[in-house]
Symmetry: C4
Subunit: 191 residues, 4 copies
């Protein structure tokens, strides 16, 4: 099986620049492995990457001190189903299954402003190995949050890999027709 | 007419793994038949496949004992229009038009948790021929259900085959221009 | 300018079959004219075609006696913004600007069931030339209407021709880069 | 790096023609710069262009006297998150960072009709250099506003450039597989 099947790199984020920090959101699509049969299987899952940069002057942000958190598709589901009064908290341990488990702790928090005029998005990163604590806050307006929800809803099926499914057929008609794989459907009737 | 015109197989499901069972959801696109005129007609309808696997240990699921139910586009319409208090039940008889009609009965049920924190999705399969009864339950959170609704809403027009319609034009401009088929539109004015 | 630039015909409708009539809904994309400059301009607008067939027996419908009404993008906007208690009526005169104006009158009506369980969709066609009156009624469930709303929302930007805009870029990167057309954007700054 | 990488020009607007003016809405996609590495970076951001033409007779509009305002993605977020009672105002200074700053002032206003039957969209352009004031008003129905919201929601991820991200993978599989760029994901685990 051919591993590591990827595409051209494209940089296109939705970014908001605020007084203390900037937040930039980008979808990262899944990668696929091609089986010997020619089928494609999701290899590494897609995520929605939230990147925070601290402000170091007027409209200047320090890319060296950035921190990132990669939301899974279900965590994106939390974000897009947030009602105007709802908040959500997401906790990650980047070294979860290694010997450093528990040493680094990231938490992303989304809380509505009391007056309903938007949300406060914040990321805290506590690193017990480096003895560092970092904390970023980015207030977002209702309009900015609406862009995030709309863009994340658009991206969600693509980070699941379903965009490949729905894009594939037209190519089928251009090239060589392959045999219908009826097994998948027949399975319901099998038992 | 050329039958069984299909595309590369792609495996990309949305899966949730819970204590008693796992549930995995995948769109299955329609297949098309190419007419001698070159037109394409939907041959077998697309569905949304819900696959359940029973748990057989911690984070282990038995693929041999899986059960599937294939939701039609209208059944997907039921799912995506469920309000927070709504439930829905879907009944299938896989051998409906055969001599075994009524012998196997599948029912998928989606019920909201009393506290509004998500849904319980369950599948029951009663097989009178094999004298078996199987029952799967998978609790899903609000965030997980939001992923299912968003991903199923995305997939719905594609399992109808409309993705082919909307993807086709750009290719038309690359290749040979074909005569406008004005009949379809003229029909409104015909009578 | 090259007229009548069209694509492969594809048949993929959403159809509901009921006691007195069947209703089938299909998007019809716009056609484009290619200017000498290479630009594409919408030539004939896209529509959402609603086709009604009267029942002539159990699960049998008479295609010869079909009647169609082609909804404009704004009429599709009416349909997808219908709340659970709302109704809408759409009137067409297919011979509007001809000498037969006023002789044929089509009206599509969408009314909610009193118990909130769906809608009644009906089409009336009164033809004063042929001295005929036809009337079709198709009750649709909440799930079926949800399919129509979701599928029509998906199709709406495509019947506007915006799918061409959003699909075009990837092709730009495969072929020859063309000069950026900055005029469009500069216009805001011009005056 | 290759600049000014653009695609075929396509004209496909959503237009409403009213008594005093016409309004036409078109997405303008971002342009990309190709880096030497082959990656693509957003060069100029996409916008949603709102163009107003004054009426100069029955169903006649003066294209020479048009005025435009280009909504950023966040301003589009304002528009698509407007509730039935909400209004929004958008101010632009087209010469913002030049010596003419403050001399031209454009404001777009969207206000609901008192009876809930739609919105009034108006553009005012005050030009202190030319000593001109222009004012356009276009009443839009609920159905027309629903088309704008649906079409702008569709376009939003594309004016962000995310359509390129989601369209790219299928091409990856047709051509030469490239090495997985794992840096992006690894960054979360780096610190």
């Amino acid at each position: 099986a051919a591993k590591g099947y990827a595409a051209q790199r494209i940089f296109a984020s939705y970014s908001v620049f605020k007084g203390k920090a900037a937040l930039s959101v980008t979808p990262v699509l899944p990668t696929f492995t091609k089986l010997d049969s020619g089928s494609l299987v999701v290899d590494r899952r897609g995520v929605m990457m939230f990147k925070f940069l601290p402000a170091i002057g007027e409209r200047k942000y320090d890319n060296e001190k950035r921190q990132m958190i990669a939301l899974s598709v279900t965590e994106v589901g939390s974000l897009i189903s947030l009602g105007p009064q709802d908040s959500c908290d997401i906790f990650h341990d980047p070294s979860m299954k290694s010997s450093n488990a528990g040493q680094v702790r990231k938490s992303l928090s989304i809380k509505p402003h009391a007056d309903g005029s938007g949300y406060l998005i914040s990321l805290s990163v506590v690193n017990n190995i480096l003895k560092t604590k970092e904390y970023f806050t980015v207030p977002v307006t209702t309009a900015e949050f609406s862009v995030m929800k709309t863009a994340c809803s658009f991206a969600l099926p693509h980070i699941l890999g379903w965009g490949r499914l729905t894009n594939q057929l037209p190519r089928g008609t251009e090239g060589q027709p392959s045999k219908v794989d009826s097994q998948l459907l027949d399975l319901e009737w099998d038992k």
